[in-house]
Symmetry: C3
Amino acid sequence: MKAHTEYLTFNVPARMDFVNITPQVEAAVRKSGVQDGLCLVNAMHISASVFINDDEPGLHQDYKKWLEDLAPFDPSPQRYAHNRTGEDNADAHLKRQVMGREVVVAVTRGKLDFGPWEQIFYGEFDGNRAKRVLVKVIGE
Amino acid sequence: MKAHTEYLTFNVPARMDFVNITPQVEAAVRKSGVQDGLCLVNAMHISASVFINDDEPGLHQDYKKWLEDLAPFDPSPQRYAHNRTGEDNADAHLKRQVMGREVVVAVTRGKLDFGPWEQIFYGEFDGNRAKRVLVKVIGE
Amino acid sequence: MKAHTEYLTFNVPARMDFVNITPQVEAAVRKSGVQDGLCLVNAMHISASVFINDDEPGLHQDYKKWLEDLAPFDPSPQRYAHNRTGEDNADAHLKRQVMGREVVVAVTRGKLDFGPWEQIFYGEFDGNRAKRVLVKVIGE
């Protein structure tokens, strides 16, 4: 069995935004030499996500508005108990649960085995600082 | 290490519906010959889900109503920016994030290592066309 | 390839609560002897979750309030079709979809390859009875 591990770092200059990280994950799969296996990609921080969806700016705008409706940013101590601890990012921990921590993608014939529109995104919900994403490829 | 890959195709005759695909996944695990390992099952389309829950029609009705409340179908250009691009399925991309893209199931003694009520479903949110699900089994 | 499987049992004395199960998962990884691989942790019951987030009581309070807003407990037959079948836990099946069934964590140099604040939680949404969590470690 082969295994390959990489850590990617992102510093998103916005509180909430989505970054297409498919090229970096494809590069990690190539480096791994794995022909048949699984590729895990996960946010290492708990106010961020990794998810798979469409690279369409209108849809990303819809995700932002929808997530803000479901879990509004509110640094006051009134709405969120977490924001009584000196934090202001309770909303980010909620948004991340909707969008998910990780994706697991099949590797077949040495490549990410994707449907026609699948792209991997880093989802930032508490940005303006460096955060990491882990890529782990295992297989043969 | 053994690896086995299958692609299942579903054409759901409704905009939103859930299909129990456990028998097809069990068949893929048998074909793989894997006794101990992991089985990934994921939607290859970004307006569909694969998830694990109960095969109970009332619950499925509840999921549909709840998801429609959280992310209503609205083909007009007013509500969703994605639907200003010629698409009408922004709601499906949102619903799929709540229900998830994939499941990873343990394979133990040659079988899906399930709790008492676990069943695997394909969740369709923009149906009436053929879409694919990937099953990948790795292990020994 | 090595594989190790464990079943953990939890009996949470509340309808909804979160239990930090990181120590038990770390012990399973040690027992597996895997240095480089993947660790799957999933709820075996469909009204429970396994998820990764922060071990901060205020945040857990926020999760409970937020999930109760998104999918209120209501044993009456009016709100949920599932609760016309003799069940009262339709809300638990909805809450579990938001928080997720499973996590997959990389194992690197024999340890869970975690970011600074990542902790694994069992999320109970229909408690007061024994339920199981599966841990499967594969790798070399």
